[in-house]
């Protein structure tokens, strides 16, 4: 029996699933042994889960489809604002905390934006040029939100009544579920026939097209799914913050965090962003506690060092050590 399980795990295709399920189980029971309302660990993990969701979104578009997006902060912020607006105006009439309908809508709003912007950008621009094109999406959204003061509250933003807050518990489990969902979405997309197309596009667009792949369709698809994941991450964050404004949910950290996490862990791999999210959140949290002011400098140095010395990330490090042994 144990042999069977062992050989099942050894099979490369199952390793990721096994560790994800194992990790999920461990994280699922952690709250049973800790004081959820007071523990820093719970807050740390909650933050990590949000980071995993947005990182997987970037991973799909940049890591698998090879199109570097510098607009994830726009999608994250749009998701957060959507949640806040629906909540405040009780548009869905459901009105309870962590309403799945609200969260899905908060994912879909960025999808619409991603499609509207993605089709012209992705059909005309390649490589760097696409990255530039996405760079200002966040800025334009900020301007729009600042100007639409009647709806968005301008620079002050929106306040969700924080009286509904009862416990950290639902945050933790929703975060865990969303992180698993994000991993699963990217995993199944990349394992499906769509994944073939994305990987082929990343390697050689021209060749992919001459084998019958409709390049634009799959690039836009990856961009939209990445936007969806950023949007629901933003939604969850909005529930946590209660007060959202352009400064908190549209700032450029939300553009750089997913990149940093993917690069750190290993872009274009399923577990890379997860590992990266844990590492980055740990470093940031540690920095926040012990040297609050200077820690972003450390992370800047970290990006440079990682890109210089291990451009394939932590995941790639394993392969490099193995191949050096040969």
């Amino acid at each position: 029996m144990i042999d069977k399980i062992y050989s099942y795990i050894k099979d490369k295709r199952h390793t990721n699933i096994f560790f994800t399920v194992l990790g999920a189980l461990i994280f699922a029971i952690i709250p049973l042994f800790t004081d959820v309302e007071a523990s820093y660990l719970i807050y740390f993990l909650f933050l990590t889960f949000i980071h995993i969701v947005i990182a997987q979104g970037w991973n799909l578009i940049a890591g698998y489809a090879g199109q570097i997006s510098l607009g994830q902060n726009a999608f994250f912020g749009l998701g957060a604002y959507t949640t806040a607006l629906i909540w405040l105006h009780d548009i869905t009439k459901t009105g309870y905390y962590f309403d799945p309908v609200v969260m899905i809508l908060s994912g879909l709003a960025p999808v619409v934006l991603a499609i509207i912007i993605g089709i012209p950008l992705l059909s005309r621009l390649r490589g760097d040029y696409f990255a530039f094109g996405t760079l200002g999406i966040g800025q334009i959204i900020i301007v729009v939100f600042l100007k639409a003061r009647a709806i968005t509250g301008g620079a002050d933003g929106l306040h969700i009544p924080s009286t509904v807050y009862e416990s950290m518990m639902p945050y933790y489990y929703t975060g865990l579920l969303l992180a698993l969902f994000a991993i699963a979405v990217v995993y199944f997309i990349t394992r499906s026939r769509i994944g073939f197309a994305l990987r082929a596009i990343r390697e050689d667009e021209m060749s992919a097209a001459s084998h019958g792949v409709f390049i634009l369709k799959y690039k836009v698809l990856a961009f939209a799914v990445g936007a969806f994941l950023a949007g629901i991450a933003g939604s969850l964050y909005a529930y946590y913050l209660f007060h959202i404004n352009p400064d908190s949910v549209l700032n450029m950290n939300w553009l750089f965090y997913p990149i940093l996490m993917c690069v750190l862990g290993g872009t274009g791999t399923i577990m890379g962003p997860v590992i990266g999210a844990f590492f980055m959140t740990a470093i940031f949290s540690f920095g926040d506690v012990y040297f609050a002011q200077t820690h972003p400098i450390v992370s800047g140095v970290l990006i440079i060092l990682v890109m210089k010395f291990m451009p394939t990330g932590i995941i790639g490090l394993k392969d490099r050590i193995l191949s050096r042994g040969k």
């Binding site: 005309r124 490589g127 094109g133 200002g136 800025q139 972003p296 800047g300 210089k308």
Partner: protein
């Protein structure tokens, strides 16, 4: 007097746009030789604005005089950055890595400035900060005029360097075909380092110029990087002369946009123009088409 008002808006646009222009020329040079957009350019501009601020407040050195220190220092820093950080990535021709390196550098610099200078806006105040000329009722602040003067001088200097010197010609050649330049005996690292030195040197000039005009804070670097990028796209990526014109054009667009549509919208408008240009005229508004070798 609507005409005078319009004129004032136009003049202001040109005066401010030249700062974008110098930044964009730097971006364009680095892009030409390395094929990367150096995102940290804007952050370095702010960094040098702070340096100029420090030189004034701590040592009492006039901002314009500080250029004598800032220009060589920034050029040195530029070449050091190339050899220290970008050299391997340039040799491997891995653009994504160079791009992420630039992002990391920008992140590092911005947060460094936050720690050293805090997020509160600073401004350089001198005896001539409030000095204003009023030819024909158009208000022209002295500092903006000086900025224009410095920008024109700097741009002319760079263009002459590119046109008249052998190494400048080599930089232009490398932006067309790097392999071919090595077959002429030109060391590609040397050319890249020169491009970086001038690029960051221009950031130094732009930083000092900016410091005399506007209050600035560390986060402004990112916005400035986007502005410089927009200027670059308007002028045609890789077109050094176009970059300066693109900057001036962007200044005009912003100035007109905020006057006629309303302040705060200017960013959205210039970004909209940028997107349209990228999509429909990726070779830029000036000059011919991009030639693929």
């Amino acid at each position: 007097m609507n005409l005078i008002l319009t004129l004032r808006v136009l003049v202001n646009g040109v005066l401010f746009g030249t700062t974008y222009g110098i930044a964009a020329v730097g971006l364009s040079l680095i892009f030409g030789t390395m094929r990367i957009i150096f995102f940290a350019q804007g952050t370095f501009i702010i960094f040098f604005a702070y340096i100029s601020y420090w030189l004034l407040t701590l040592l009492g050195i006039d901002p314009y005089l500080s250029l004598i220190i800032v220009i060589p220092a920034s050029m040195l820093l530029g070449s050091a950055l190339y050899y220290g950080i970008f050299k391997e990535a340039a040799a491997n021709e891995d653009k994504n890595i160079s791009l992420l390196l630039a992002i990391g550098l920008m992140y590092l610099m911005e947060n460094f400035m936050l720690v050293v200078w805090t997020p509160d806006p600073r401004s350089v105040v001198t005896s001539y900060t409030t000095l204003v000329f009023r030819p024909f009722g158009i208000v022209i602040p002295f500092t903006r005029l000086t900025t224009l003067f410095i920008a024109v001088l700097t741009a002319a200097g760079v263009f002459i360097f590119l046109k008249k010197t052998l190494i400048g010609t080599a930089v232009r050649a490398a932006s067309e075909d790097v392999v071919s330049t090595t077959l002429m005996g030109i060391n590609p690292n040397w050319v890249n380092a020169v491009a970086f030195a001038i690029g960051i040197g221009l950031a130094g000039v732009a930083g000092v110029a900016l410091a005399t005009i506007y209050p600035f804070d560390p986060s402004y670097g990112f916005i400035f990087a986007i502005k410089a990028l927009i200027a670059l796209a308007l002028g045609g990526i890789g077109n050094v002369y176009g970059a300066l014109l693109g900057g001036i054009l962007l200044g005009l667009i912003e100035s007109l946009g905020s006057f006629y549509v309303g302040g705060g919208w200017a960013d959205a408008i210039s970004y909209g123009v940028f997107l349209l240009v990228l999509i429909f005229r990726p070779q830029g508004l000036f000059g011919g088409s991009i030639k693929k070798a």
